[in-house]
Amino acid sequence: MDRMLFGTVALVTGAILTVLLPKNRVRVGVNLVSQAIACVCILSDTIPILFGGPELTGVLQWSFPVERIDLRIGAVGAFFLTFSLPMTFLGSVFATGYLAHDIRGPRHVGMHFALLSMVQLSYLIVYTVQNAFAFLVGWEIAALSAWLLVIWDSRNQKIRFAGFNYLVSTHLSLLFLVAGIMIMHGATNSFQFADFQTFLGQPSNARNIAFVLLMTSFGLKSAFFPFHTWLPRAHSAAPAHVSALMSGVIHKAGLFGMLKFILMVGQPELWMGWYLLAVSAMSAFMGVLYTITQRDIKRLLGYSSTENVGICGIGFGLGILGLATNRPILAALGFGGGILHIINHALFKCLLFYGAGSIYRFTHSIDLEKLGGLLKSMKWTGPLFLLGSLASAALPPFNGFLSEFLLYYGLVQPAPELGLGRMPMMLFAGVLAIVGGLSALSITRAFGLIFLGLPRDPHHVDPRAREHPCMIVPMVLHLIGILAIGLCPMVGLKLIEAPTRVLLSLSRKQPAELMTFVPHALINSLTLVAAIFVGVLAVLLVLRFALLPKSNRRHVTWGCGYTLPNTRMQYSGSSFSAPMVAVFRDLLKFLTREELPQGVFPKDGHYDTHCVDGVEQTMFKLLGNGEQVVGNVMRRLPEDTRFSFAIGLAGLLILVALVAMK
């Protein structure tokens, strides 16, 4: 705990100095050094916990309303701290490249870096405190610093709007959180998590309501469907590293909250698992469905976050089912897969957002329909983005596959206790499969349009542009993480073993089967498959280029007889996803603006389609016209007798139901 406190002091001092010192270079340097010191100090505390060391505890005294704050770093908190801190540090390193122009210029960038330090501080609070009040403070620090980071380019009205949208949504999440905490506070008259735990340990209606409220709040934080509306806007508005950190790291706090709550509940009920599974599966599916229609790379990646938190949530739901039916193997695979997917998603999503940032600095555009052919000029970003995308489509031998594999394996596990419930479990496996297929389409489309072919808009080709090494290095480090977990699954399993064990210890059964929740033989087989694949590929590469004819003969692409192709005639992003969109047309909402050429001598026409967020549209519509809707109902109530009868009957039914439930 001492090292941890030292780290915190280093972080805060660094943040203050970053704002006060003169000259941008000095500020950034001091900030990075302070963050590095804090990371080393705190990781030296948390890593031993992750590998079986004892929990760390401590107490802070504060003034009146809070008085006593217990600090505890358990395995789950240690896991979140261990990936969040260094990844945020890498994000700050990326920022020195991404904001290189601003750092050279007159603008005070110290504020931006100080805010990154504050984000680090918020992890330290959220992941360690055992007091609801302090937890809320940490939650709020994270929300406000993320908001201020998003609106870095605040001169742009769109960005201010996106920031405001984010601010409102994140406070809606806070509202639900406060409501949930108030219920628990009302029942226990305390703000300590230890007291909440005794209350939540007993089944009650209040507990159920708290569960739904808290899941909604955490769902809003982590951008589960249909609470994701803030996310695509915020992600496309924020600087690349901020999007990366928000998506990969900061909003993982929502998933932490879920795990924390599950831990406090102890023995969950079946419906909680089904609820979480259903919400998460919907999130995964709708998230990935939206990615295939986006033309802004960062919006696309934002929706993909909704998909991936959904996949994590499927794992947690499965884990709850395992706990409720007393099947440790189910719980182990569910929680294990879900927790592993948290870090996997953090790794590849940060990499992809950094890639998007690098593309933006290179071409001044992140519009899929304008880019193309970047693989030849972006020697580093291209391959890195490719491997990151393959990981995000959960393909072997990359890390995303391992977590999805655990989930599939969990979903087809025998569980006679669930009875008919096994059928929906199979269907959830089917949902995972279609999500996999859709995300394969989506990454092929994104990578293919950005990096392959020819530039679609020559204005976005800048021959002087260079890739900044400060942007490349964090990407390479993330790739190393992806490959480490993908090629040696043991590494990934070691990382998640301690937090999964904590969750498993809730199970009433404590047999020896818990000791190796994923059989080592299975992991060895996965490693073997990865090794065979890499080996075969290497042999084939050598054979192909050593034995078979090579050539430098070049010719134009076959245009099917057309002799005057231009780069605008390449397949576009919207046409690429058109066949799939046609299948799921009813779930998506398109805005069409058209002015078709008419008459014998037509003027220029245009036709635009734009996939808008259906949920957001409905929400704005309700907010805009809500008064009118309520007004209409109010007017009809006294005028139309049948209508008022119907309303009255419905109200009566609800009342009777409530009385009967008592």
Binding site: Y408, R422, G430, A440, L441, R445, P549, C560, P565
Partner: protein
């Protein structure tokens, strides 16, 4: 005995693809009243292509020559996981069918990327169609195998195709799964009615249009890998319907599966001679029919879950 099975497996995976394509073409020729090429004509075609010097499009990057190798590597690796006789695959472990499906997925992505690499609108169109239809086929495959896993209480690909439980239910499960698998095969291997490999119009193709700019060794590798994938999927159908387990009656099992792969190839040839390609708009419905079949078998298993583990 396991050496025999291994030899059979490798022979089917590496040699049979040539004959499978040969059989399909022979059936089509006979139906059209021609004698048709030799059954192993594909072999000569491949060797000819391998000797040729490739010509690349000016637009392509390093993805283009590397992608065919990735496709072949994924297919070879996946082929070690997929069973051809029940109870035997060179590599088997719990949940390996997920690895199988996703490895093939990796190969497909590289095929699509190499198509997009040429910057051609036609090849982009092929990639888009391939992405769509194979994404829709994915749940059919995994849900079907998941159902068999539930019914059989087994978790590895080689074991879950072993007959288990009451024979009536088992027969229903196996036949529906084989039917759904056949649809997946037609889509994945780009055969009629999902796609027409011999059409001359680029606008109507899926798989063939993606390899318009491939030539020489690259073309040979892609075509060989695609034939290998088709043989593997035919092998899975054979394994599911095979009444003999590799452990008890290895010889019979091998003979049955071998004969059945020939039968599947003949069916593909017959279908290609008899019916026309479906409209693209109807393809999702075609996949959905297969999905319904799998869903039915899932309902059957749910209704009789007392009999299973």
């Amino acid at each position: 005995m396991s050496y025999l099975l291994l030899a059979f497996h490798l022979a089917v995976v590496f040699v049979a693809p040539i004959f499978v394509i040969g059989i399909v073409n022979r059936v089509k020729s006979l139906w059209a009243g021609r004698r048709g090429p030799r059954l192993y004509q594909t072999w000569f075609d491949l060797v000819r292509l391998l000797r040729k010097t490739p010509v690349y499009s000016q637009v392509t990057s390093w993805i283009f020559p590397v992608a065919p190798l990735v496709i072949l590597a994924t297919t070879v690796t996946a082929s070690l996981l997929g069973p051809i006789v029940p109870g035997y695959a060179p590599l088997g472990f719990a949940g390996d069918f997920v690895v199988f499906a996703y490895l093939l997925g990796l190969g497909k992505i590289f095929l699509m990327l190499s198509a997009l690499d040429t910057g051609s609108a036609f090849e982009g169109m092929g990639a888009s169609r391939e992405a769509t239809y194979s994404a829709l086929a994915e749940p059919v495959f995994l849900l079907g195998l998941g159902t068999l896993a539930w019914a059989g209480g087994a978790h590895s690909f080689q074991d879950l195709v072993i007959p288990n439980g009451s024979w009536a239910i088992d027969a229903v499960l196996r036949v529906t799964f084989a039917g759904a698998m056949f649809v997946v095969l037609l889509i994945e291997a780009a055969r009629v009615p999902a796609d027409d490999p011999t059409t001359h119009l680029e606008l109507t193709m899926v798989h063939e249009v993606m390899i318009l700019d491939h030539s020489g060794p690259e073309l040979a590798i892609v075509q060989y890998a695609s034939a290998m994938k088709m043989t593997m999927l035919a092998g899975i159908i054979a394994a599911v319907l095979n009444p003999f387990s590799a452990m008890s009656y290895p010889i019979l099992a091998v003979l049955f599966s071998g004969a059945f792969i020939v039968l599947v190839a003949m069916c593909v040839g017959l279908i290609e001679s008899l019916i026309a390609r479906l409209r693209f708009r109807a393809l999702p419905l075609f996949t959905f029919a297969a999905f319904l079949a799998v869903l039915t078998s899932l309902v059957v298993v749910t209704a009789n879950q007392g009999e299973f583990h």
